[in-house]
Symmetry: D2
Subunit: 414 residues, 4 copies
């Protein structure tokens, strides 16, 4: 008697058909924790700039898993030993790598629950799932945490060239329409190899890797750190901050019950470990909770909250200035005072209208994990050494920019 | 002095760059009524089957407007006279053609407000906008309502081959990944012509039109009427129905304020005409109101409501049977009784678990507006006559199918 | 000691990377008979209309083999037993299915060697290769000739839905740029199954099959039977005819040595069987022999030959008329007389300027091999029965058109 | 009375439809000089590595012209004045920029006619066409030669960012299937501007330009300087050299008449200016002449010529070694001696089997024409200054590699 349920296929505009390899993976995908990712956009507010960018973490996770099965096939064809158990575990590890993301987590990661990263939540939720699935995820979790003997499996999940990056760059490029960000995941995967238990790319793949690094850089500036997106995200951060402040003052705010819990309290990592119900409440949160609440707050009597919400919902976004030098305190102060006068609020409150910060991008981080190139002569070099054009210095230079955001009406510059 | 603001470009993964032609159109797009469409998915629940199908009516409306500007260029190049005023008006007409759609309107069109179609809402909202814009939309509205002398302009907005269909087929195909639904909007637009004040396709375009008709048919069965989507939509309809019933019984339901208004009352078209504020409330509704509320109702004490909501949110969708014959009353009754026993509710309440209905598709509707083919000899034929392969009888045959939905646990069939 | 040479990959703009499965297949591809296909365009003169259509039978054969390996994987995943030997053999069968094609064979199939089809040449060349490869192709040849017990393997090579068609439709569509001809080979292959030793498509694939049939029909009229291409091919046929006639009159014609052999003699199938060297000479012919000779003949003193060649090379193609009724003998005669007067040649010679004939296309041939649909209930129906829209009568109706070609200068019609 | 003939459209798998803007351009395309480009592959022998790379200079020239019309539209929309005469002239200039290319000109540029570049031939042929067209090309020629007052028009035809490069990178990437070479010509063209009579890219286009430079670099190593292609080209160069040598010794070689003329004589630029018929003979040459002759020479009695030709035709290509240092004379000498022994020829003759040379690529040439970036503040910077990542030093570093080719059988290295 066959115990295999009917094979499942998921449609992906990028890869065509994605086969789900095995029942355990199907069952994980059907779990409410994972289904929740259907309601969490991969790129948060980016759709305000690129209207197609509505794809979800659900789709990304499945896409990354698809690439993982391809990578496994390629490596096996090169006589790298990967058992069936390992293959399943590494597929699960990538499938669940983002399970802990909350709504708009790029912006709100530390607004909803302080000092708890999405990686912490991922760990908590994976542990929970492992119990429900009677320990079947143990190997996946080991690989995810880089505690498994075969290090290269972890590198497929998390490194400068992991299946996560390969999928998200391709996917984000596809849905935003920024076609220049397109990377050849196919080609890169075909070039994968393992040397000394580390992932490596065959020498002939050097140009593809250079291209990958440049494409990633381009996506950073054109999409991930797009100034309008940065402005919108900062507005959302301030909205949550104001809502929490009002809540803490005893103000009643109409919000979904799950969001209310987090508005009214500041939980720590320990709380989550002690009260299992709290994790369940977190697992109810998605983009709908946030945005439905923001929409309601457009009509709240607190004029700061309502102004911020209305601006975000109707897309009257704040102006953002970007420069290589830090903005002076006096410039910021001057804008806050202007805002105070204009909106008739105290300076402290006016600060909600003016936010500043920095964004940065480093094309290739030499200090973290390298991209190994397996040369034809059998040696392994880092891409920064192997490339005859790019060099470490240039590649690893972090580009930092400073920004300041404020309502367009405050603008005095041309 | 130039009064033209900086030209606006919107990124579209399908067309690349879309230029916004003129300030009036930019201003309309910036209006909250139009921005609202950013939060209304074009295909409602379809993403439960095709996870990429998250694109919005906002993106579609802009895409259709883009095709309109291309169509205008092509027609002008063939010496069809179209003034600048007409060109702007017809672009506005297509831009606003869906402005009246509510959330999940394919499913909920008559659940939120009875007897008022989305076309009615479009008319109301366009009228409102026309006032705000000091009558600048009058010509667009005239064309939209087919009251303008040049009939072919209306046909560009609404006919068997309008820019609406050309965009949505292409877009839905792109985002679902159902690549077989792809149509050559480019090619079709290049073949557009006007004869006797009617849109026509040049003879050499016959095969493209055949292909277009078949692609549309394929999209109907594979996407628009996909059985799992039909099941999900019916579940959502029943959820709203139950919520309204509970509301009418005085039950307090946690819902967004805007949705609450419509849960508690049954407004008529006349109400909307008499109380302008009502239209404003409607214009606040989007997918967030619906789904945030559904998520909250998962925890409602009414077990029917909570069961339906939980099934939808966690994607434990009902089974759906599809067949060419109507389901017998006794089969339906038998399922309802089963549901009653299983869920311990009265038969009347059990009916929420079992819904039936019909879906139909006609590839080409001969009785409505024809697709004209302008033959090389100058005559105009209908595609059904002009095609040497397809014939009226086959093309216009309506295919009707009957369905019945119920929880998988009730299933007795293999 | 490993006997496997380094795995070979071929780049394909359509499929990305194509892996060559095994050394025997690599060796076959490296054989001069197969390399010759690099110099034979898949679509002959079609590039005169679609300038991108320069792809070769070499690329197509490898593409079809690639689809074959995918189809084998899919069928095996559905528990259809296919041994490694069978898998290799069926891949070889599709790889070599077109090995016997000569240059411009759509036009010249019976001009270069009378009464010998390209299938005959394929059989001869496969036999020759089988000897060289010590009988390793025996199973492939058996499958190719439908003499193997598992019939479905032959159907993968040659049937209404074989890998040949799936590749060429996709490839021809890609390189011509006729995007409407694109078929979803991926999707169709995923739906393949075997029932009663016959290939079948799973029920949910019905719409894909309908689409495939329509796309094929569209490609026929838009590409394969494009009137300008038909005109060019007829010109080439007449050029060869005239060259052979001049040769037979003892006229010396500058031609490549291999082509000369066939200009001066009319070989029969028997000759090829008796004189092995003749097959070797045939295997030297490719597009270069034909077109280099045609180019030289532009300067030949025979004014008919030079006029035809010049017209073809400089793309001053003949006018072609197309209609549903046969052209009358008197109309043709009248054109021939005009040509005679204009070019000052006898009526017999003038006939080289005026050719007529018929072209036809049947979307789906019911009388040959059917496309089986494996219904969900386990039954097998023909697509013509299974489709609720298309019907046998319409699908199998052969569309025949008559054409007549002549120099544009003879034209009297508007 | 309209003198405009029916508008012409050419199908391009890359751009879809290409409109031919005006009768003069249609007439130029119909001229035999231009039609000849249909028979000259853009990438010569590259199809031996990338089988799809069969596209022609004809298709490229039309594609570049298409991009030119788009660039003109964009610049005009930014209030750059371009008259209709200039628009036509610049389109003609790009259309004809490659008219002087001979067959396999990357390899054979100086083999067929010594000391005459393809630019020389272009100049000669444009002059000839200008006479035929009664001086209508004068402005185009002026722009082509950079003698026209508006310098930016010439830059659109020839500069680091001209329409030539934009088309060929895109086209070569498309047909080879090296998807990583894809550039966003659309996006770059949208960013074009003119400042101080020089082409510039708007600041927001910086990343696109970086990407363009990297993509070009990738195409160089992966396609244009692909080692197998270099080997094949060197074999072809040696074949022509040997054929000329044999010819000069009075040996009769079967070749097309046009090629014969160039085998038997060494013409100078002056000859072409003095004898107009010579240019006509050159204008008859295309890939067919070369390859048909090479195929015949496979059977020539000179064993060097026949061996080289057979190796090329059957794709038994020479081994190529590539390294950063020059190969030593002794290594080369040793290989030649080996070849001499193996093939029983003198050392002088053995040199035909062993060729060496260098290939180089510089991603961005700072010493030639710069890529201007028009900063938001109105200043113009060079991309090397404007980019925060790439720097002049890295970008302009020329990468040079040395190669040596010889028959695989001579190989002694592992």
């Amino acid at each position: 008697m066959s115990t295999r349920k009917k094979s499942k296929i998921i449609n992906d505009p990028i890869y065509g058909f994605v086969n789900l390899p095995g029942d355990l993976i199907s069952d994980l995908i059907n779990h409410p924790y994972f289904q929740r990712l259907r309601r969490i956009k991969q790129l948060g507010m980016t759709n305000l700039v690129y209207p197609g960018a509505l794809h979800t973490r659900f789709h990304h996770a499945i896409g990354a898993m698809h690439l993982m099965t391809e990578a496994i096939d390629v490596l096996r064809s090169k006589d790298i030993e990967i058992t069936n158990e390992e293959a399943e575990a590494v597929a699960i590890a990538i499938l669940l790598h983002d399970i802990g993301h909350g709504p708009f987590s790029h912006a709100l990661e530390h607004s909803i629950a302080k000092n708890i990263s999405h990686e912490d939540f991922s760990a908590l939720l994976m542990g929970k799932l492992n119990k429900e699935f009677n320990g079947k995820l143990s190997l996946a979790i080991k690989i995810f945490n880089n505690q498994y003997k075969k290090k290269f499996l972890h590198q497929l999940v998390s490194s400068q060239l992991d299946m996560d990056r390969l999928d998200y760059l391709k996917r984000d490029s596809f849905f935003t329409g920024v076609s220049e960000g397109v990377i050849s995941s196919d080609r890169i995967i075909k070039m994968l190899h393992v040397k000394n238990d580390e992932l490596a790319i065959e020498e002939k793949g050097i140009y593809s890797i250079e291209k990958f690094i440049i494409a990633r850089r381009l996506m950073y500036w054109q999409v991930y750190l797009h100034k309008t997106v940065v402005a919108a995200e900062n507005m959302l951060v301030n909205i949550l901050k104001r809502a929490k402040e009002l809540s803490s003052q005893g103000e009643e705010l109409f919000a979904t019950p799950a969001l209310s819990v987090f508005l009214k309290n500041n939980y720590t990592k320990k709380d989550f470990e002690e009260y299992p119900g709290l994790l369940e409440t977190f697992a109810l949160l998605d983009d709908y909770d946030i945005f439905a609440s923001v929409k309601i707050w457009m009509h709240h009597k607190d004029k700061i909250l309502s102004a911020l919400c209305r601006s975000l919902v109707d897309r009257k976004l704040f102006k953002i200035e970007l420069q290589k030098e830090k903005f002076t305190t006096s410039y910021k102060q001057q804008l806050i005072q202007k805002a105070g006068r204009k909106y008739k609020v105290s300076d402290k409150e006016a600060a909600y209208y003016v936010t500043s910060g920095e964004i940065e991008n480093s094309a290739y981080k030499t200090n973290i994990i390298k991209i190994n190139i397996l040369m034809n002569n059998g040696k392994v070099l880092d891409i920064a050494e192997a490339s005859d054009q790019l060099n470490t210095e240039v590649l690893s230079k972090t580009v930092k920019k400073y920004f300041i955001c404020y309502p367009k009406t405050l603008n005095t510059r041309p």
